[in-house]
C-alpha cells in the first residue's frame, strides 16, 4: 500500500517527524559561524597541472590540476579561488606516491579536460566541471591521446587493448588488441597522421612500437629489432614529439619514431632524476637534478628535432640550488622558466643567457617541486611570466613576475593528524586569577589586581572598536572588521593543529574562517599516517608531535614556535599516550612497547613521584601486536625516563576475526546527570564508566561484525553483540560517549542498506536501581557479574554510507548530544540529535502519555533524516571529510566541530538550541524601538490624561 503513495508524501512525513529533533542551520548564521577551506590537495605531477582556456574562443585561462587526493578541478589564476572540483576516486594520503602513475589529466578538444584514474576515463567540461561522459575500461589505462580531426579519444590499456572513444558521445568507435594481450602498453605518440604506441614485452624485456591507423584502428607496422636493447626501460615522453624515449643504466635514448635513428644521451651517475618537456614537435627540453650529500645541482638542455635527427641546442647553466623548469609557448616563442626559492628566470632557445629574471619579494617557504609557467613576450620586448609552483611543503603558489599573487594551503588536504588547542586556556581565566588574588595578602593582591588591569588595557582598543560595531549591529548585521586583539568571551576561538604528510605542522583558526595562523617545518620530508604516533595537546597551548622515529617536537601552538625537539628510543610498534597527573598540571607522554620485558619510556623525564602516583591508579591499554586485540598494562617509572611495564590483562580476538577499530570515550566527556528521569518519575540510572573501549572486529568468512565493550582497567568484557549479513568491505565506524555508543555498517539482511545502531547502557534493567553507581568506591575489579551494564539497542536504516562518526562535546555535558556523521555521497556533515537515536522509543505502537512526556516518539526503522535540515554544512559541498573532531566552547550550549580530510570544515553547533546566548535573531532595534515607543507614548498621553482628569474634576 505504501508504495502507491507519492514519494513526496514520504519525504514530507519524514520531514515532519523530524522537524522537532533536527537541528538546522539558521539562514542568518550560515556562512558566518561556519567556515570551509576548499582544497584540492597537492598537485601530483607537472604534466597534470596546466593553464588552459576554459571554453574555445574565451580569453583568459584557468589553472587545472590533479592532486594527490585524486581531486581534479579548475582554479582561477587571478585570485586562487576554486572554480570547480570533482573527485576521481578515494585515496589515502599514504597512497599519494603511487597515484601519479595511475591518474592524470590532459587537455582535450573544445575546451575539455580528460581525466584518467586507473581504469576510469572521463571527459569534463572545462568551464563548469560537469562530466560529458564517463567510461570504465576493463584494465588500467596506460595512455590516451585526443585525435582532433577524427574526434576520437584513443585509449591504450595496460594489456595492449586499444580503444577509440567518440569524443561527443563516449561510445566506442573501434577497438583492437596489440600483441595478443601479453605486452604492456605505455605511451602514445602522434606523428603526422600515424599513431605510435610503445609497448614493452615482459617476456623478452624488449620494447616495441606499433603504428595504428587513427581512423580504423588497424595495426599498420611494428618496430622492434635494432632499436631497443634488452635492458631498456621506457621513459614517458610528451606525446607531441615524434620520439620514443627509453633508458638503460647510464643513457637516455631517443628514437625517432618510424625509423631506426636513435640518439643516445649520456646521463651522469650523479643525476638523481630528469624530466622531459616539449611544447612543439621540434623542440625537446630535458631538465636534470643531481643530488650530492651537501648540495643539489640542476641544469637543463634544449634539443632540436629536425629531419628525424635529434641535435643538442643550448644548455641552461648549472646551478648549485634546487630549481625546477617549465616550458611554455604562448605564441611569442618557446621559453623555459626556471624557478628556485629566490627567483624566476626565463631562458629562450637562442642562448644560454637568461632573457629575464625576477627576484621574489621573499624566499619561498620551501623548495619548489614542480612548476607550470606561461611566458609572454610583449611587442616592446618586455617579458611577463606567471607560474603556478607546487612547493615541497605541499602548497601551491602563483607568482606573477616578481610577486606572489596567492598561496593555496593545499598541504592541509594531506593532513595525517589533527588536534584542538584552546586559545583561551593560555590566558589565565578570570576565575583562576581571582582565586589567586584571594589567596595572597592584601598588598600583593592589590598590586596583582592593578597590574592585571593595566595588562588588560591592551584589549581596550579592540573593545572600543567592538563597541562601535555592536552599535552598528543594532541596525543590521555587520561584517566584523579585521580584529585587533580582542577577547573571545565564548571560547569559540580554537586552533586546530595539523601535521601534514610533507613534514609540516600547521595551525588554523576556527574563529577566523580557517585561516592559517602559523606553520613550521619538522625537517622531515614525508610523514605518513603510520609514521605519526600522535599529536597531543599538552595543556597551556603546547602541542607535542610524536613520530614513530622517536622524535618529539614540542611546539607553542599559539605562536608556532618550536620549543624543543628531542628524541627518545620509541620502538616503531610502541603505543604512545598521555598521562595526566590527577592532582597537578603535570602531563607526560608514555610509550608502551609491544614486546614483553622491554621497558617503556616516559617524557618529560621529571616529577617522577607525581607520575608514579598517576600511574599507580591507571591501567594503560593499547592494541596488542598486529592488532589482534587490546592489552592492558601497569607501568612504574624508573630512572632515566624508563618505565617498567607489566602486562595485566589482554583481550585477544579469535583467529578468524580482524580488528576494525577501537573507540574510547572522548577525553572531555562530562556526564551531567547520572540517571534518566522517566515519565512516571522513576529513574533509569546510567552505566557510567570512564574506562570504556568499544572494539569492533569482523570475520570475513562469515560476513559478521562483532562488538566488544571492554573495561580497560580490568579487561572485562562488559557487553558483546554480533551483526550477521554485514558487508565488511564497506566502512564500519563507531563513536562512544557518556553511556551509549553508536555504530554504522552496511547490512545485506532483509533491511538492506547502511544501518545505524545505537546502544544505551544502564546500570540495571529495573527502574530506580542505581546498581553500585551511588557507592563511594566503585572499582573495575569488582565482580564482573555485578558490574555488567544493561544495554538497550535500536537499529535504524540510514540512506547513505557513513564514513565517520563523532559526537558533540560541551563544557558540562548538560546539553543533549548530537551524533555527527560524515556522508561523502552528499558532501555533507550531518547532525542527528541523540533524542532521535533513542533506543527507548516505543516500537509498533504510539507512545503513551508518560513516554510522550519523556520526549519519546514512535520508532520508525527508516531514519528519514532530512538531508537539508540535518546538515551542519548546509549548502556547502564538502570533499573527503574523513575525521570529525569536537571540542567544547565556554558556552554550555555550544560545541565546536571541525571535520578534516581533504577540505577543512568548521562550525559551532547547539544541539539543544542556543539557550545561553542571544542569537542573531535577537532584534536589538526592535527592543530599543519598543522601549522608545512606550516612552514617547507616555510623554504624549501624560498631558492628555492630566487635562482630562482636571476637566473631570471641574465637571464634578
Amino acid at each position: 500500500m505504501w508504495l502507491r503513495h507519492n514519494p513526496l508524501h514520504y519525504f514530507l512525513l519524514a520531514g515532519s517527524l523530524l522537524s522537532s529533533s533536527c537541528q538546522a542551520v539558521f539562514s542568518d548564521e550560515a556562512f558566518h559561524t561556519d567556515f570551509q577551506v576548499q582544497l584540492f590537495g597537492t598537485a601530483l605531477d607537472p604534466s597534470s597541472t596546466f593553464f588552459h582556456q576554459a571554453a574555445a574562443g574565451k580569453t583568459g585561462s584557468l589553472l587545472y590540476t590533479l592532486s594527490n587526493r585524486l581531486v581534479i578541478g579548475a582554479i582561477n589564476p587571478k585570485d586562487g579561488a576554486q572554480v570547480w572540483r570533482q573527485r576521481l576516486g578515494e585515496g589515502t594520503v599514504s597512497e599519494s606516491e603511487e597515484l601519479s602513475k595511475s591518474a592524470w589529466i590532459r587537455k582535450s578538444k573544445d575546451g575539455r579536460i580528460v581525466s584518467v584514474f586507473d581504469s576510469a576515463i572521463a571527459l569534463w567540461d572545462a568551464a563548469t566541471g560537469r562530466a560529458v561522459w564517463e567510461y570504465s575500461a576493463s584494465n588500467t589505462v596506460a595512455d590516451l591521446i585526443t585525435l582532433e580531426p577524427e574526434n576520437l579519444l584513443v585509449v591504450a590499456l595496460k594489456g595492449g587493448e586499444v580503444k577509440a572513444i567518440k569524443l561527443e558521445s563516449g561510445e566506442l568507435a573501434w577497438e583492437t588488441l596489440v600483441g595478443e594481450g601479453r605486452d604492456v602498453a605505455s605511451n602514445f605518440n602522434l606523428v603526422g597522421d600515424r599513431l605510435f604506441l610503445t609497448l614493452s614485452e615482459p617476456a623478452s624485456t624488449a620494447l616495441k612500437t606499433v603504428v595504428i591507423s587513427p581512423a580504423t584502428g588497424a595495426q599498420l607496422e611494428t618496430f622492434i629489432d635494432g632499436v631497443f636493447g634488452p635492458s631498456d626501460a621506457h621513459v614517458s615522453i610528451p606525446q607531441i614529439l615524434p620520439l620514443t624515449a627509453f633508458r638503460d643504466s647510464d643513457h637516455l635514448k631517443l628514437n625517432t619514431l618510424g625509423t631506426k635513428k636513435t640518439k643516445s644521451l649520456g646521463v651522469d651517475s650523479t643525476v638523481h632524476d630528469y624530466r622531459l618537456h616539449a611544447v612543439s614537435k621540434d623542440t625537446l627540453f630535458v631538465e636534470y637534478w643531481a643530488r650530492s650529500p651537501d648540495s643539489t645541482t640542476s641544469w637543463a638542455d634544449f634539443y632540436t628535432i629536425k629531419d628525424d635527427v635529434v641535435s643538442k641546442g643550448v644548455s641552461v647553466p648549472y646551478e648549485n640550488a634546487h630549481s625546477v623548469f617549465s616550458l611554455s609557448d604562448t605564441g611569442s616563442g618557446i621559453f623555459a622558466t626556471r624557478v628556485n626559492r629566490v627567483e624566476i628566470r626565463i631562458y629562450d632557445t637562442e642562448s644560454d643567457a637568461q632573457v629575464a629574471a625576477f627576484e621574489l619579494p621573499q624566499m619561498l617557504p620551501a623548495e619548489p617541486l614542480h612548476a607550470v609557467a606561461e611566458v609572454v613576450k610583449r611587442k616592446d620586448g618586455a617579458i611577463a611570466v606567471r607560474a603556478a609552483v607546487t612547493l615541497a611543503d605541499g602548497n601551491m603558489i602563483l607568482i606573477r613576475n616578481n610577486q606572489i599573487v596567492w598561496t593555496r594551503q593545499e598541504a592541509l588536504a594531506s593532513a595525517v593528524a589533527a588536534e584542538f588547542v584552546d586559545v583561551h586556556e593560555v590566558e589565565d581565566t578570570l576565575e583562576k586569577t581571582l582565586h589567586a588574588e584571594e589567596a595572597s595578602n592584601l598588598v600583593t593582591a592589590y598590586i596583582k589586581r592593578v597590574t592585571r588591569h593595566i595588562e588588560e588595557l591592551k584589549y581596550l582598543p579592540g573593545w572600543i572598536a567592538g563597541f562601535q560595531e555592536s552599535i552598528l549591529g543594532i541596525f543590521g548585521p555587520v561584517t566584523p572588521a579585521e580584529a585587533a586583539v580582542s577577547k573571545d568571551p565564548f571560547g569559540y576561538r580554537k586552533f586546530v593543529v595539523f601535521v601534514t604528510r610533507f613534514g609540516w605542522v600547521t595551525a588554523v583558526d576556527t574563529a577566523n574562517k580557517g585561516e592559517v595562523v602559523w606553520t613550521i617545518n619538522l625537517a622531515k620530508t614525508k610523514i605518513l599516517e603510520k609514521d605519526i604516533k600522535g599529536i597531543f595537546h599538552f595543556g597551556k597551548g603546547v602541542v607535542l608531535v610524536v613520530l614513530s622515529s622517536g622524535d618529539i617536537y614540542k611546539i607553542d601552538a599559539i605562536t608556532g614556535r618550536g620549543l624543543q625537539k628531542t628524541a627518545v628510543q620509541i620502538l616503531p610498534s610502541a603505543s604512545v599516550m598521555v598521562v595526566e597527573s590527577p592532582t597537578t598540571d603535570d602531563r607526560w607522554i608514555v610509550a608502551v612497547p609491544i614486546k614483553e620485558g622491554v621497558k617503556g619510556w616516559f617524557w618529560p623525564d621529571e616529577n617522577d613521584e607525581e607520575l608514579t602516583k598517576a600511574l599507580s591508579k591507571a591501567t594503560l591499554s593499547r592494541r596488542c601486536e598486529s592488532s589482534r586485540g587490546i592489552c592492558g598494562y601497569t607501568a612504574k617509572p624508573t630512572v632515566g625516563g624508563r618505565l617498567i611495564i607489566t602486562p595485566t590483562w589482554s583481550f585477544r580476538l579469535p583467529p578468524n576475526q580482524k580488528m576494525v577499530s577501537i573507540s574510547t570515550r572522548p577525553a572531555h566527556d562530562p556526564v551531567a546527570s547520572i540517571g534518566k528521569v522517566l515519565g512516571d518519575r522513576s529513574v533509569m540510572y546510567k552505566y557510567i564508566n570512564p574506562h570504556l573501549a568499544l572494539l569492533i572486529s569482523f570475520a570475513p568468512s562469515t560476513s559478521s561484525i562483532y562488538l566488544y565493550l571492554i573495561d580497560t582497567v580490568s579487561g572485562t568484557v562488559l557487553h558483546t553483540s554480533v551483526q550477521n549479513d554485514a558487508d565488511v568491505t564497506r566502512p564500519i565506524v563507531a563513536t562512544i560517549a557518556e553511556n551509549w555508543y553508536v555504530y554504522s555498517y552496511y547490512s545485506n539482511s532483509v533491511a538492506r542498506g547502511t544501518q545505524l545502531v545505537v546502544t544505551d547502557l544502564y546500570a540495571s534493567a529495573t527502574k530506580n536501581d542505581p546498581g553500585r553507581l551511588l557507592q563511594k568506591n566503585v572499582s573495575s575489579y569488582d565482580q564482573p557479574r555485578s558490574t555488567s551494564p544493561y544495554g538497550i539497542s535500536h537499529a535504524f536504516i540510514f540512506p547513505h554510507p557513513i564514513t565517520s562518526l563523532a559526537t558533540t562535546t560541551t563544557r558540562q555535558g548538560i546539553t543533549t548530544r548530537a551524533v555527527l556523521l560524515s556522508v561523502p555521497k552528499l558532501g555533507s556533515l550531518l547532525a542527528i540529535n541523540k533524542r532521535t537515536l533513542e533506543p527507548r522509543r516505543p516500537v509498533g505502537r504510539e507512545p503513551t502519555a508518560e513516554e510522550k512526556e519523556e520526549g519519546l516518539f514512535k520508532y520508525e526503522p527508516y531514519l528519514g533524516v532530512d538531508h537539508g535540515r540535518a546538515s551542519l554544512s548546509h549548502i556547502r559541498e564538502l570533499f573527503g571529510i574523513e575525521k570529525i573532531i569536537t571540542t567544547p566552547s565556554l558556552l554550555e550550549s555550544t560545541s565546536i566541530v571541525v571535520g578534516w580530510g581533504i577540505d577543512i570544515f568548521g562550525t559551532r553547533t547547539n544541539p539543544s538550541e542556543a539557550f545561553d546566548v542571544l542569537g542573531r535573531g535577537f532584534n536589538k532595534l526592535a527592543l530599543i524601538g519598543s522601549v522608545l515607543a512606550v516612552g514617547v507614548g507616555t510623554l504624549f498621553l501624560r498631558p492628555m490624561v492630566r487635562k482630562k482628569q482636571i476637566g473631570q474634576r471641574w465637571a464634578q
Binding site: W2, L3, R4, N6, P7, L8, A24, V25, F26, S27, D28, A30, W84, A122, D125, T128, G129, R130, A131, V132, W133, E134, Y135, S138, E161, L172, W174, E175, T176, L177, D727, T729, N748, V750, R752, G753, P799, H800, K825, L826, G827, S828, P861, Y862, D866, H867, G868, R869, S871, I875, E877, G919, R920, G921, L941, R942, V945, Q949, Q952, Q956
Partner: protein, 225 residues
C-alpha cells in the same frame, strides 16, 4: 578471441563488455520539471549510485552535460538506484537485472522490504526531482499582520471597538429605548460597582502619575455626589 568481437553500440540497452556477455549498461536521464527547471541548477558533483549486494558490483555515474547517466557493465542482480544530490531530492528506484540481460525498474523507498516491489517504470530510466532541499530555518521576525491574525488579539480589538462605539450607538437610539437601555445599564453598573471596588479604580489617573492619595479622594467624591 572474444574481445576482438566488435559490438556496435545500440541505442540504449547495450552489451559493451564483450567478455561478460551478461553485463548490461543501465542508462537514463534526469528530466527537468518545475521543481528543477534546468540541470544547471544541480551541482556538477551530483552522482547516481547503483548499489548492489556488494561493493564491487555497485556502480556510480555522474550526471552528464546532456542530462543522461550511464552505469556500465552491470552484472545480473538487484540494485537500488539513488540520486545523490545536494540541492534536490529524487525518488529511489529498484533496478533488477536478470541473467539474460533484461532490465526491470521499479519505484521503491528505503526501509521498504526488498521483496516488495513498487510501480514498474520503463528503461531507459527517467527521473525527476520531487523536492528541493531546504537547508535553513528562517528566523521569524516581528510581523504585524501575523499579530493581527491572532484570535486573542482579534477578540481584544472587537472588545475595544465595542467600548468606543457603544456610546455613539446609544446616542443614535430613539429616546424611549435609550432611556430603557440606560436604566438597564445603570442597574447593572450600580450593582457591579457596589460589589467590585476595583471598578472605581482610576486607571487614567494612575497612568498620569497623580499621587495614589488623590485617587481614593476623587473616587469618594464622585460617590458622595
Amino acid at each position: 578471441m572474444a574481445s576482438i568481437l566488435l559490438l556496435r553500440l545500440t541505442s540504449f540497452l547495450l552489451l559493451a563488455f564483450p567478455v561478460l556477455i551478461n553485463a548490461v549498461n543501465i542508462v537514463g536521464s534526469i528530466k527537468p520539471n518545475n521543481i528543477l527547471p534546468s540541470l544547471n541548477l544541480i551541482p556538477p558533483s551530483t552522482t547516481l549510485s547503483l548499489s548492489g549486494a556488494n561493493l564491487a558490483d555497485s556502480r556510480t555515474s555522474r550526471v552528464y552535460t546532456s542530462g543522461t547517466f550511464r552505469f556500465q557493465d552491470v552484472k545480473p542482480g538487484s540494485y537500488l538506484l539513488e540520486v545523490n544530490c545536494k540541492t534536490h531530492l529524487f525518488p529511489s528506484l529498484r533496478v533488477d537485472v536478470s541473467s539474460d540481460g533484461l532490465v526491470e525498474v521499479y519505484g521503491t523507498f528505503r526501509g521498504n522490504e526488498w521483496d516488495n516491489k513498487g510501480e514498474r517504470k520503463p528503461h531507459p530510466i527517467d527521473i525527476s526531482a520531487v523536492k528541493g532541499s531546504d537547508f535553513y530555518i528562517v528566523r521569524e521576525g516581528f510581523n504585524p499582520m501575523k499579530l493581527l491574525s491572532n484570535p486573542m488579539i482579534l477578540i481584544a480589538i472587537v472588545a475595544i471597538g465595542g467600548m468606543t462605539l457603544m456610546p455613539k450607538m446609544v446616542e443614535n437610539m430613539d429616546p424611549e429605548t435609550r432611556a430603557e437601555f440606560e436604566k438597564q445599564q445603570q442597574n447593572s453598573v450600580l450593582s457591579g460597582s457596589q460589589n467590585n471596588p476595583l471598578q472605581n479604580f482610576d486607571m487614567a489617573g494612575y497612568l498620569a502619575g497623580s499621587s495614589s492619595k488623590g485617587q481614593p479622594k476623587s473616587g469618594n467624591g464622585s460617590k458622595r455626589k
